[in-house]
């Protein structure tokens, strides 16, 4: 069995049968074309994303993998309208959102088509709001009456395997794993077409990691598209249909999870695959990794 926190090696177990090598040809729920994002002004202006092109079909799970500072979170923030694109287009559920005003973004967000799960659930849940209040917030923002909103969040708790008694608790009174599942439930409350998860399991222990990944696997079967952002290839490999590798703001490799893991083309992807920890890490790979690092730095 592959440990959820470890990447399957090229010679490791076969990826799951449920993943599709050919993504659905249906209208993509997310289409990014030639996306550039810059931070800073004038002399401090620096490029964070360059010419990123990616599409996610309904029900598809795409993993975006890269090291810290590679632009993974910026990509997610650009899709959510939290940072402006310098060039390129972003289309969400068929709607070009690139030039959207704040009011248009608010309307789109209230529809709940795209949802986002933060890396740290403790900070992404208001410490003064109960779990019920946090879960109901997206519905209240859509104008759903409070009573109805509370009725709609109960089944969600079962879906993320949380007991109903947690509804009256504050985020600080529940465990880290429970908090992350609350964050996932909050993302699902508006029945989104696309859920972007930023390192959803990186702060969790193995048991909770397995549970969250299992919830995401079940979510795929309902037709929700998932974008899974992670620096850990292992977390993504077990669940993603496709993997996109982001390196220094550029997508250097995109392919099916099987291809990216078994036949990595870019040196950075090869380094990621060979660096993934396993229970049987071969010391002999060290030389190969050093060579790849040297190739990347030159």
């Amino acid at each position: 069995m592959t440990h959820p926190g470890s990447a399957p090696r090229a010679d490791g177990p076969e990826p799951q049968d449920t993943r599709r090598d050919d993504p659905s040809p249906a209208r993509p729920v997310l289409a990014i074309t030639g996306l550039d994002v810059h931070y800073g002004l004038r002399r401090r202006r620096r490029k964070v994303l360059h010419d990123v092109t990616l599409s996610v079909a309904p029900g598809e799970t795409v993993g975006i993998v890269g090291e810290t500072g590679s632009g993974k979170s910026t990509l997610a923030r650009a899709v959510l309208g939290l940072v402006r694109a310098s060039a390129g287009t972003v289309t969400v559920a068929g709607e070009d959102v690139t030039g959207h005003s704040e009011a248009k973004w608010r309307r789109l967000r209230r529809r709940g088509t795209v949802q986002y799960v933060f890396q740290d659930p403790l900070r992404s849940l208001d410490p003064d709001l109960t779990v019920a209040d946090s879960l109901a917030e997206p519905l209240l923002l859509r104008g759903v009456p409070r009573g109805e909103a509370l009725a709609r969040i109960r089944p969600l708790l079962e879906r993320v395997r949380l007991p109903g008694e947690l509804l009256d608790r504050l985020p600080g009174e529940i465990s880290g794993g429970q908090r992350q599942r609350v964050a996932v439930a909050r993302a699902l409350v508006t029945e989104p077409e696309l859920v972007i998860l930023d390192e959803p399991v990186s702060a969790l222990d193995s048991a909770n990691r397995v549970q969250v990944l299992q919830i995401l696997k079940e979510l795929r079967t309902t037709g929700v598209a998932i974008v899974l952002i992670s620096h850990d290839l292992g977390s993504v490999a077990g669940i993603a249909d496709r993997i996109a590798v982001l390196y220094r703001g550029e997508l250097v490799e995109t392919g099916t999870a099987r291809d990216v893991i078994r036949r990595p083309r870019h040196p950075y992807t090869r380094l990621l695959v060979s660096s993934a920890p396993t229970l049987h890490t071969a010391p002999a790979d060290r030389a190969e990794r050093a060579a790849l690092r040297a190739a990347l730095t030159t």
Partner: protein, 296 residues
């Protein structure tokens, strides 16, 4: 918040004292046993059945003057606090959300207010609006408002950059929603602490001004005025300033005690208190015998 404050002994004492003071302000003139302005031949008399706190140098009943003077002190201190609250908190919170131009202007206004000499400003305002305790307290409130501006702005900045606010924005929240649902709750405790302290400071300022005879013209009774008139006759009646001084001291002390209690029950400490109570309630529930029979 009030329930949490009342769960602390310090909070209960503070609220009890301030409730008494508030009642004195409302009912004081009615409760006064004598006319606070009526003079008599019994000057500087010690406490007795007719005059429990004695009489002053004009033979006026000290207790009646103390009760009648409560309203000026309470209203004056509330005026300071409410002026500072409105002038400071509203722009303090909005400065985070209404763009850089608004932020820059409000910051410069606050810097100016901090640098403004109190007396010069007070004289200018009183010259414009006329002499009176209301005008004096208005000036004081405006000059105290930078404290509220900075406290509310700092608290709002911390919350505005938090992930749960970003999560709310991603869910489609407007600025108004974010302020009402997420910011206000976090900003309220530090503001409440500042407010309680400012009310205390307001009492001291009102008492000081009336002690100096500014704002309220004699023979109108005030706590500060009582203190001043009694001080002139210390050699005949050394205990005379004790009652007004104690009243001022107890009120200011209660305000500070309340500020401490609010600080102790807000934020992380407050959440811990709620969690502790819930745990205790849970334990009590478990130790109670299970109900037998009845509808489920």
């Amino acid at each position: 918040m009030l329930r949490r404050v009342l769960s602390l002994p310090a909070g209960r004492i503070a609220v009890a004292i301030l409730t008494v003071v508030a009642l004195l302000a409302v009912l004081g003139p009615v409760l006064a046993p004598h006319d606070p302005l009526a003079t008599s031949a019994r000057t500087l008399a010690p406490g007795s059945g007719t005059h429990p706190l004695g009489t002053d140098y004009l033979g006026r009943d000290v207790l009646s003057r103390l009760l009648a003077g409560s309203r000026v002190s309470v209203l004056g201190s509330l005026e300071v606090a409410l002026t500072a609250l409105v002038v400071g908190v509203v722009p303090g919170i909005l400065s985070v959300y209404l763009g850089r131009a608004f932020e820059w202007v409000t910051l410069r206004v606050v810097d100016t207010l901090v640098a403004l000499p109190f007396l010069l400003f007070a004289v200018a305002v009183i010259a414009l609006l006329g002499n009176g305790i209301t005008q004096a307290m208005l000036v004081t409130g405006v000059l105290v408002s930078p404290l509220f501006y900075r406290v509310s702005r700092a608290a709002t900045l911390t919350v505005a950059r938090s992930q749960y606010v970003e999560a709310a924005l991603i869910a489609g929240a407007s600025v108004g929603w974010v302020v009402r649902r997420h910011v206000w709750v976090k900003v309220l405790p530090p503001i409440a602490v500042a407010l309680a302290q400012t009310i205390g400071v307001g009492f001291v300022i009102v008492s000081s001004l009336t002690f100096l005879g500014i704002g309220v013209q004699p023979p109108e009774p005030t706590w500060g005025g009582l203190l001043a008139s009694d001080l002139g006759y210390l050699s005949y009646q050394p205990w005379a300033p004790v009652a007004p001084a104690l009243l001022i001291m107890a009120t200011v002390w209660a305000c500070n005690l309340l500020a401490d209690a609010i600080r102790d029950v807000s934020g992380e400490a407050g959440r811990a208190l709620v969690a502790h109570r819930r745990l205790r309630a849970g334990r009590r529930g478990r130790t109670e015998p299970a109900p037998t029979g009845g509808a489920s």
